[in-house]
């Protein structure tokens, strides 16, 4: 029984981490045209101590240090002397690919959650007769 509750909480930690990741991705995509926006990235870490060792959690949110895109538009209020202003460093293709990966992992976690639940309920059926 302990194994089942362990796997349920492990899977739900995975679900939580992946949805957090998706949240930051959609934040990036929403701000892809915001001047001066740096894309946020979040790293996953394994919990070593805690209720369920081995669960996953999201680490600190970091800003991508890549160069900001220079956009030439002399009429823009933020343009400098050369007529350029800082765009964001969000690459839509990367964000979409990352979102796909997050979705895939989310589904896998959901599947494991469902399976652990099925296994424990079939165990309970033994008692029911």
């Amino acid at each position: 029984m302990n194994d089942f509750s362990d796997s349920l909480s492990l899977s739900s930690s995975g679900l939580r981490a992946q949805s957090q990741r998706l949240r930051h991705l959609s934040e990036n995509i929403a701000n892809s045209d915001t001047p001066g926006y740096r894309r946020k990235t979040v790293a996953f870490e394994t919990v070593i101590n805690g209720d369920t060792p081995g669960a996953v959690e999201t680490g600190r949110v970091r800003l991508d240090k890549a160069e900001l895109e220079q956009i030439y538009d002399p009429s823009h209020p933020m343009a400098d002397e050369s007529g350029n202003y800082d765009g964001s460093n969000v690459e839509l293709v990367i964000e979409i690919a990352d979102a796909r990966e997050a979705q895939r992992s989310y589904e896998a976690n959901l599947k494991m959650f469902d399976q652990a639940r099925q296994m424990s309920s079939s165990l309970m059926d033994l008692l029911r007769r």
Partner: protein
């Protein structure tokens, strides 16, 4: 057959093994995107059943799962190394899903064995 009811013990150990494996696989899948995580697995039931000898296994770390009463001992170990991601993660989702289906089938099989032995036992004692 019914002196020691060994078949129940075996079905119990099998279901327990499947549950332990499910938990290890859930951990792998939860950490499918964690940098540096190494996928783990436990020995198949056929290998670990009856592996318990005169001296019981000692759990020296929290990662060691052992249940000597159930007639088998499981220990999480690194899974056979497949391709590793550039960030050091060795979890392959497809492979893990396959193993998870295996664990589920093993669990169902163990419960079916338990159930049908119970029916035989009930028939033998004359109750329905």
């Amino acid at each position: 057959m019914f002196e020691k009811l060994q078949i129940f013990q075996m079905a119990h150990a099998m279901a327990q093994h499947a549950g332990a494996r499910q938990s290890v696989l859930a951990r792998n899948i939860a950490n499918a995107d964690t940098p540096g995580y190494v996928a783990r697995d436990i020995a198949p039931f056929a290998e670990s059943y009856g592996s318990i000898s005169d001296f019981a296994q000692r759990a020296t770390r929290s990662g060691h799962i052992s249940d000597n009463a159930g007639g088998f001992a499981v220990k999480a170990r690194a899974a056979a190394a497949g391709a590793t991601d550039p960030n050091g993660n060795s979890v392959a989702l497809e492979q893990e899903m396959l193993k998870a289906v295996d664990a589920k089938r093993q669990h169902d099989r163990a419960l079916a064995i338990y159930k049908s032995s119970l029916t035989v036992l009930r028939a033998a004692t004359g109750r329905r």
